[in-house]
Structure formats: C-alpha cells, structure tokens
Amino acid sequence: MKHNKKFSFVALLLAIVLLSPYATKAKEYKDCITDGSANDINKHYVMAYRYSDDKSGKVTLTVANGTFRVLKVEEGIYNQENDVKTNFQAYPSVLNVKTPLNEIEGKELTSKKPLSFYVNDYAGEDGRTIRVTIELKKKDGKCLSREDYEELPANQKENSTPYTGYIYVELLNYTATSPKNVDNTNYNKGPCYVLRTGDNSSKSISDEYFAMYRAEGTEYYKKVAGYCYSPSVQYNYTDSQVKSMVNTALHSYYILNLASYQQPVSQDFEKAFNASVANAKKQYEVKGNKTIRVDETLSCDYKKIKSFKDELTEYQYVNKTSFYAKEVTTSSVTYKYNYEGGFTQTEEVKNVCTRTCEEALDVEYGPPQATIAGFCIEYQVKVTSRVKCKSEVNVQPPTPKEICQPVPYCIHSNGFENTQGGPNDEYDACIKSCDGGKYTQKCSKSCYNKVYGQTGKKGVANTASAIIGRLANTSGKGYTRSPEGVISWQGGGYAQWYWDHEYERTLRDDRGAFGFDSNGFKRKYAGTKNECNGICSHIGCSNYTYLNEETVASDYAENIQRYNTAIQQCQAAATCTSKTGVFKISAEYENGKGKQVLEFPLSTKKEALKSLTGEGQVQNGLNQHTTILDYNGCYKDTNENNWYMTEWSFPGIWINNKTGEISFKEITDLGWHNIKNKFCLPLDSKNVNVNWYNWYIAQKTLSQEQKDKSGSYKGDDYSSICTNYNNLDKFDDSFAPDVYNIKAQTYDKLDDETGFGYFGWKINIQCFYALSDGSDRKTSSPDKCETPPSGYTIRTVVNDDLFPSDKKDGDSTVTDVDKSATGRVQGFNWSAAAEITADKNEYYANNPELIIGKIQANGNKIYNGKDHLDYEFYLTPSDLKKIKNNKGNYTDWLGKVTKDNYDQESKVYVYKSPLFRGNTTSSNSIADSAKKLGVLGCNNYETCKNKKN
C-alpha cells in the first residue's frame, strides 16, 4: 500500500511535470515593479497627450494603465538629457491654458477616461511646455499608489512617496497651416478697398484710372491684384506698390477689353482726315516710315489762277496736294527677376502691344502772280496735318511667380534605403550589370558582398521622397541662398516641408527626442544614441527660383510697373512731335546786277515752330515781320496733340513814300511805310515768264464774250491769244513758266530734326511770278482786243541835288552862269527866269530858286509827315474808273474860267476840277478819295490871295 501510494505520488508528479509547460505561473506584486529595462514604467503607464485635429487647442491626456489624479498644471521649459527631461523651470506667472485650473487639477485620469483641456495657440520658439503632474491614485500592483501609501504605517510613510508621473504638453502654433500670415494693412483702405467695392469717394484712385473701373472685371482684378482681396497675407506691399498694382489692374482690363484703342476724334476731324487720305491716294501714297522725306518738289499749276472778283479779299489757295503716311510700332517689356543669392534673370516679352499712327497732310499754296516792276505780289503757303493713332494690347499682365520649396535631403552615414526596405542605387546598378536587372541569387550574393561587404556596414544615400504636406507648426519663412547657390533655412525652428509620415523627417516630437539644427534640419538630441549626423542640404530649387514670398512680391510689383509703362507708351495718344518745323520762303528777280535771291526770313534768325512745348516758339520770337502768318494744333497747344497747321508768306517790305524805293529790311524812318506779307519787285527788275504773263493778262482783260469766241481773229501772237481764249486748258507748254522764282519749304536740313508735323515732313514748293513791262508785246491789236497802256517813262530826282551835274567838278566847260544852286543849268520853269516877282503879280508870287534851295536843304525829309504834301489821293479801282470815264468839265487851255469866286484881275486863271472838288455824291467825283487838296489858285503857299473873300 505504501509503495502504491509512493508510486502514485511519483506518477502524479511525473504527470504534473510533463504537463507543467501548460501550467500558469503565479504572479507576485511589489512597489513599482520593474524588470530593470529602460522606460519600463513609462511603457507600462504610457502617459501621453495629443492635440485634436480641429485646431481648437484641445489637448487630451491619456494613460494606458492605472488610475491617476492630476496634481498640478504648470508652464515652463525643461532640459533634455537623453530621454530624460530634467530641470524643469516653471514660469509661475504664465499659463497658456484656457481651461480653468479647477477643471483639471484634482481630476481623475484613467485608460478609459482620458482628460482634456484647452491651451492657447503659442507661436513662440522657446520650447514652452505645460507640465501636468499626475499621481497614481489607486492600487494597481505596479507602483505605490496613494491608496497604498495611506495604508502604510507612519514610519514607512516617511520614506515613501506615491508614484507621480509627468506629462509634458508642448505648446504649439496649432492654428498655422502655412507660414504665419499677417493682417493685410491695405485691405480696408486705399486703392484695394476701391478695387473691391467700386467706391472711390476717398479718391484713392485718380479719376483717370477710376474711369476705367468695371465691376465685371472683378475676377480679372483678383488675378492681377489678388493681394487686395486677402485680409490675411504673407507679405504687405508698400503704398506705391499697391497703387501701381491696382492701376495696372484697372488699366489693363480696360484695354484688353477694347478691340483696339483709338484716341477719340470729332466727326469733322474724321471727315477731314478721310478726305485728305482719299486725296493723297489719288496723288501720292507713302508707306509709313519714321523718316518722311518728300524728294520731289511740288510745283504750282500755271493754269490755276485766281478768281478775278474785285471784292475778293481772302487769299486764294488754288493748289492742294495731299500726302499720307502710316507707321506701325510694337513695344516690348523686359521683366526682371532677382532671386535670392544675387541670381538674376530677365525675360523679354515682345509685341506687348501694337501702335499704328497715320498722318494725312494737306499742302495748300497760291497761284502764280503777274506783276510789273515796282509793284508787289503776295504768296502764301498753308500746311495742315491730322494724326490718328490706335493701339491694341496683345499680352496680358504678368502674374506672381510661385516660390520653390526646398526639400530637406540628408545623406546618412549608414543604413539601407529605409523608406521602402530595398537596396541602394549602387546595388541596383551592380545587379544591372551582372544579370541585366533580374536579381538572380548568384548576382544578388555577389553584389551584396561587393556593395555592403560582409558586415553590411556600408552606407548609402537616403532620399527624401514625395512631400506629403506642410506642417502645422512651422515657424515662418526664411530661406536664403548664398552666392554659391547653397540654400539655408534662417527662419528659426524646423525648416519647412518636412515629410509628414516618417519619424526622422517629421516634426513630431512626442518624446522630446528630436530637435533642429541651425539650418532647420531635424536632428535627434545629442547623446549616445541615434544621432542624425548625416550631411543634409536643401535641394529641389535651382538658383533661378524664388524661395520667399517677400522676394516674389517685390519683383512682381516692379514687373507690374514695367508692364504698365509699356502699355502706357503704346496706348498714348498721338503726342506732339519733337521735331521742329522751319518755314522759309524765297523770291528771286534779275536786274542789271544779275540774279538776286532773297530768302526769308532775311536775317540769320531761324523762324521755326517747336511743337513739343505746345507753344509756337519761334526762335527769337515771332514779330510783326515774321514769315509765319498763323499756326495751330501742336504748335500752339500740346493738348491739341493730333493736328498741326502753319501758314506762312513773305514778311513784307518797306517802301519809300516818295520814291517808291524798296527795302527788304526794316527801316524805321517816317518817310517809309511797311507793306505786310508782300514782296515788291524793284523798279529795275527785268521781265520774266513773259509768255505766261501775256496769257494771264489775256485771261484778265478779255470779256467773257470774247473768251467764248473762237477763231475770229488772225494775225500776230497776241491776237492768237484772243482767238484761243476759250481753249485755255489746251494751251501748250509754251505758256509754262521759264523760271520758278518763288519757293517755300518746311525744313532746315535733310535730317530728322526739322520737318513739319508728326512725321516731320520735308515739303518743297515752287511757284512763280511773271513780270513784264509790255515791251515785248505787239503794239498792233485787233479792235476787239484791248491793249494795255505803254510808252511812259518814269524818272526820279534826288531831293538834295535836284539838278546834278553831268560834268565832273573842275570841268571848265560849265560856266558860273550855268551854275546856280544846282550842279547844272536847270530848265526854264526852275530857273530864275521864271520868277514871278510881287510887282508882277502879288497874287501869285513864285521864286523857283528859292524853292530849289528849300527842297535841297530838306532833302528827303520833305516827305516826312505831311507838311509839304499838297495833294494826296487814295485811289481805289472805282476811282480809277471815274477818272477814266471823266470826259470833260474843265475849260480848254485859253481859259474859259470856271465859275466861282476868283478875281480875274490878277490875271491868274484858276481851273477847278469837279472831279477832285465836285459834289461827293456825284458819280463823277472822287473827292472822297482826296486826303488833301492843295489851296486852290496857289502854288506852294499856305494862303492865297486869289481866293476872293
């Protein structure tokens, strides 16, 4: 029995032993039971926190095991030594916790009942932390709880403390999803406000630009001036940048929505312009070029003569020639990009807009003139041009460039490619060369040994893969680039664009194990374990990329301005030219001394008009003797910037009152008077263009009836003129002028500096006058053809030597008797023999020698004023007619005296002409034209005894 029992016991034991692997161990509990491994307690309780995703700042504390109670909540910073946080320094007066403390402190925290509270959004970078101290409240068999502690005897309590742990909640800028934004200081004021609302009551935008505002352009404005539509921005533009941006948005939208832009003109302008163009195309068409030159000279048509109406007072332009030119220009803009590190680029955008300018020019000039020596002619030229410009914008404004985000890239000292668990590039290359990339076992082994060695220690490059996204708590911008192109992060804290899902590249810092270096690269805290000591750099951005918003914004503002300038240059209406119009006119004649050419203005003073300043600016001033009669358009006012006009003529001459002597230069003596705008041919001018002259006279003198007649007369050349009058347009070129002796032009030199109008036209005009003394005219003439008077001689004297000697001094043939007060013997009427002494006739005394002396003493001063003027008439054409028609009313030579009150006893017979002194209402009287009539019946005396009473 005992043996049986023993055996049973042994068997039982055996069974137990065999089955023992399936038996459970009994567990023993002690205070803070730990297996001695690192972080054992932490790993048991796993005291942790997390932020909620809704950016509300909600923090939730969690534990994996145990029941805790929150003892204290503090804010401060700590040191980190390896994995241990030490030396926590609390800031007693600061607590970035929104939740009231009494809702946190004293509250329970269990694995099933996490505890939440709210913290402030914190943007500082000093590593502030909220430290939550929690105490193990209930028994859990792992550590000494408060319950355990309370049950201890008093003497054990002294040496014991309930287990407390810390949860360090890092304060974060949890609301940031992008580099910290700032308030847009321009959002609710200034041009931005106007752009968004259309309300310009503040006049933040000029009237000129605001007139271009269009509400329907909002989406476009957002593209060009998107800054104005964001209340929160990364960078604030300056006032001038904002203004420029907004003006460009308004201007470019306005222009881009016009098919083309043309300066508005009046209907009259348009009509005149089109008429000129039509006229030009009939005559000339010049394809536009910047330098306009008219090489050929315009000649007046010798068949076009002025109308013969007497009442005509305005100058007649009978010639008109038009010109047309067009110029097409494009403008370009060069954008500049100034990247960090001093790298720059330029980008030229051509054909930003196209501008087409047209000018239609009318040149009007007068008819040829017929004159005789001593008479004056007038000649005028008038040039008018109209300019139209239009432009089209071809290129939209620039948009801000994107910034490039560098990627942190680290080459580690060892390890395989850890992102995906494969080999490195060197291994792959080895396989490729070994078996073409098939990864056979044979090649795998050989390449493994080659690349990694036996111990697998060889390092490989570690690549950063796709960027997941920007992290919430980046501290802002601050990339720089050195002149060598090395990108650094200077913004403090972690550089941007850290990869989200790999621990070594993330910002997650739950255990406080990670930190960043001065270049923003993530490194673990220095210690003996797991340092990130690889070589890191920022890659992915070439030297010609922007790294920061601020740089982009600055360049964008300047490039917008460049674009706007290019557009404005293109859009500008026709501006007044910078060229100078120089206006000359000349005449030539021939006398005994040869050919004389007079170019006006005579002096070296240039008479020119500068349009750029908007004023008719003649050098040394326009004066009363200028060639320029009138000017307008650009030459007068730069606001009239699309047309030009100048009219010019001869400046005029000075004529001696008595002698008819001509001076082309101003003479201020009273014996001279000025005739404006005319050129007078000196008395010794020779005949010129006589054939035309004769033809012209025929036009003037023949009656219409005679003009209509044809073929009635035969005979000499003159009669043939009469005969063929009605066939004037069929006259051959024998009547064409021989000499074009009147010329006009609008430029000074054949360069770009002078010329008329927008394109600087160089216009040459030639015309002529014809002069004839009738000596070459046939004297015989048919009955029905009238001939002009002929056979008169004009002789003048010099007042201070009325009878100059025809012999030289010392000539003995001249006797003293012959000489008197004169140089030679004068004729009877002027000699002493003609003296009427008082005893002969007291009523009509006369002493010729006395008179000679008086005249010679005064010289030409006699003509000064009217002291010695006896008779003065201003004869009109009608006066001349009356004179011509006056057939009588005066006695014959033997003296039937007139009636009136004259004493016949004096033996002085007075003849009074009713033509000069008759009734002014009489059709035969020209008394109205008599400015002064001499004393009747007297000769050179102020009073006269011959008048009765």
């Binding site: 029995m1 049986n4 055996f7 580690h412 291994y427 697998g456 739950d510």
Partner: protein, 269 residues
Amino acid sequence: MKKKEKEKTLPNKTAVVILVASLMCALVCVGVIKILNWNSGYKIDSRVERMKEYQVKHDDLDVSGWLMVEGTNIDYPILKNGDEIRYNDGNIQYLWENGNMDRVNRMNYVMGHNIMNLSSNPLVADPSHVRFEQLLSFAHYDFVKENKYVQFTVGDKDYLFKIFAVTFPDASEASSLNGDLYKDEDVKETIEKSLKESVFDFDVDVNEKDNLITLSTCTRMFGNNARNFQVIARQVRDGESTINYKVTKNDKYKEIEEKMKEADVTNEA
C-alpha cells in the same frame, strides 16, 4: 507461502500497471494536447521576454516590438527609426517601425529590408535569407495556403494576426506612421484598398473594428522602385480560432504568375 508470494507479486504488478498507466496517461495527455494544439491552430510563442533581453543587450537601440511570421524565419526585433542605427557588430538583423509603437494600435506598420530576394520569382523560405527576405514567400500560392499568421509583440504582450491580403502596392505610397492616429474610417479605407489590390482571396472576414498590421518590404518584380510588397493581417478576435483557413488565387494573381515565369529559371542560389 504462495499467499505471501502472491501478496508480494500483487503489489509489484499493480505498481507497474499504475506506473505504465500514468506514463501512458501522461503521454496520451501530451499527445492529445499536442494534437489539440495542432487542431487548434497557431499558438503564440511569446517573445515578451526575448524582447526585453534584447533591449538590455542592445541598449543603444530603441526596441519597440517583435515580429514573427508563420512559415518563415522572420523572428526579429522591431526597432524605432531604423535609419540611424549604429551597428555594433554589423550582423544585427532587424525590422523597424515609424512612430509610436508602444502598444497595439488601430493600424500598425512594420518595415523590413529585402536585398537578396528581389527577383520576379522569389525564393521560398530560403534559409540564407534574413530580415524580410523570406516575406516574399507569400508571393507563392502554395506557401500562402499553409501559412496565415503573424505574431506581433508590443507593450509586453503578444498579439496574433490573421493574414487577409497580399498586395503589390505602388512604391510611391509612403510607409505609414504608427500611433493612435487612426479611426474606424481610416481602417475601413485601408481594408477596402487591401482587399481590392490583394492577389489572393482569403476566407477571413475583416471590418473597421479590427486592428490591422501591415508588413512592408521591397521587390523589384515590376522594376526598380515601382512596387512594394505587403502582407496585411487583422488581429485575431477574442475567442476566435487560429486554425488554418482557405485561400484562393484571384484574377490579379495572373500577372504575378506571368512575372514569375519571366524570371530567370536558372535562379540558382
């Protein structure tokens, strides 16, 4: 005398019978237990202690878990952030995770290297392979049929997972962070994607309430850096058996078979 002899033999015989019976009982019990074990499926072979010992031995490393995979030699520590590891002797084989793996999370990710088994026709359970090189065995149907379980040790506890998907996802999909980030909808999304991409259909149900584990490594089956290789499993539920279960090939597996045929048939070791 005989009575005494009888009395003397009787006790001996009984003892022998009892002994033999006990032994047989014990053997039978063991045998039954073993059979029961076999019929009751995969049994956890705890790695809690081994993990602790490993941490003590390699105090310069941060060990966050341990992984075993049925049918393979994958029996390695899981380290945190394997990048910055300094080898002591260069022969450490390890797996790694990214994040905060100190307990089983809703979704757990474990990565491992594959250097030697990258071909289009990977070897199956080659004893010379280390790290996650034997994981590619799951590219073969015959292997998958017999092996379904993943044992994951973390936070001083062993967990068992059932494989429900084998995929070849695009390599650009990043390895994922461990931690308590994920919610049901994240899990659901991952399950749907995995089932859609899986080249096998496993007879196991999985839903968003399950915890998942993904084992990920490299392959060059589709070229360089084109695809990864992943085995995805869900945690065995309370009271659930751990026996083998069915698996079939689906249409997507044809591509894998084609790739395997392309591989060098002389893929000798």
